[in-house]
Symmetry: C3
Subunit: 167 residues, 3 copies
């Protein structure tokens, strides 16, 4: 197992190029699919977002990442196997899977997935990110990676990616 | 008490319609009021946001939901009574109301609401959401609902709703 | 130590002015630097964001605050010394610094900062905010302040600020 973290090739220093840009406005939408293999699993989607942004032709603007699921989260952190194990452990510590959640109780809930933990964990991580685009590139710090968290897999998950700005 | 969750009538599959839309840009702002009845209370505001988006005339763009309060949160989850009870219980487990918070101590704070727990819980849930609009509709997964959390009620609360995009 | 919280001079009531604004679209980007002095430290950056928004010439739109670091968070809360002490205490309770995190273990990680706690705490607070601008002013409730959390300082930190909308 690698001990290293993924580093972004370009540590964006975008403030100068972006000051006061004006031009034609456009919106592009894409759907990104993530096939997960485990019940709880983190996946680094940064490279796929970088590619969508480059292909969009948007020079200055934003990109919204929206999980289309209640039990699938999207957030920022470093991409390193050791840290991802720590994130999973923290989620287990904060939200126990086997506590007597009402959502898992047939007397109170018609959901038979027993996934209350997944709903609560996703809520703490969040379901969306709104990132910046500058000079045609995603704005990210050197170690920042866009991660998705499968919390009730394995499943096929979708993320809607919307890019909006000046082309 | 219903055991069911609210399901969205339209599971948006919006990527095709949104690819590369251009047009006139507009911004609309609205204020939404929520009257709460309990100290801690969750309210599903999805239908009100859907209606504002439809009335805005915006076809492709974003909608920002902004809580105008420090102790009133907005976030995504399923809308089901059992799960909402679990969310309240998790908030109580993560942030105890009666711990000796400095914000509740007259020696350190001039706030007499004793609401440190409300400030800390809202911070974990978040004060805003930025959602996508595509083909004139809010982009949401089948079970995703926009919820607000009253954490120091009962009060009259306001949420600013800003829609921005191509009309 | 002051027991008081910082209050915003203008409790924005912006819905009327913003309804249906159209005009020329622009994007501006700026980089804001925060020099921190402690390992864990909260800083109120609201006044600096308010000034950037006023200088931008944007009348209706959004402003994105993006932390360029994995261990530097940005979020909303009241600005009061007692509450900030409570926030730091909650972070310590939720994510212990000295638990045996794999990210701090040389057998699994090539990071020698022993900062797993900082990564996990930042993830819970979040790395970005997308705020509204209306009538040329940041939209904030009376007690809402934009705060940044240094979680692995002291360091020089940067926040990218992108303003986008109708000038």
């Amino acid at each position: 197992m690698s001990k290293s973290s993924t580093v972004n090739a370009r540590d964006v220093n975008a403030s100068d190029v972006a000051a006061g840009a004006t031009g034609a406005f456009m919106v592009r939408g894409e759907t990104l699919t993530v096939q997960t293999e485990e019940r709880v699993e983190l996946t680094d989607i940064t490279d796929r977002i970088v590619a969508l942004v480059r292909a969009s032709g948007i020079r200055e603007g934003i990109v919204s990442l929206w999980s289309m699921h209640t039990t699938f989260a999207v957030f920022i952190n470093e991409s390193q196997k050791a840290l991802h194990a720590d994130i999973k452990r923290l989620l287990e510590m904060m939200v126990e899977r086997d506590a007597d959640w009402m959502h898992n109780d047939p007397a109170h809930s018609d959901c038979d997935r027993l996934n209350a933990d997944a709903h609560l964990r996703a809520m703490l991580l969040g379901h969306s990110l709104t990132l910046q685009v500058s000079d045609g590139e995603l704005v990210l710090g050197q170690w920042q990676r866009a991660l998705v968290a499968e919390l009730d897999g394995p499943r096929s998950r979708t993320l809607r990616v919307q890019m909006m700005g000046i082309s």
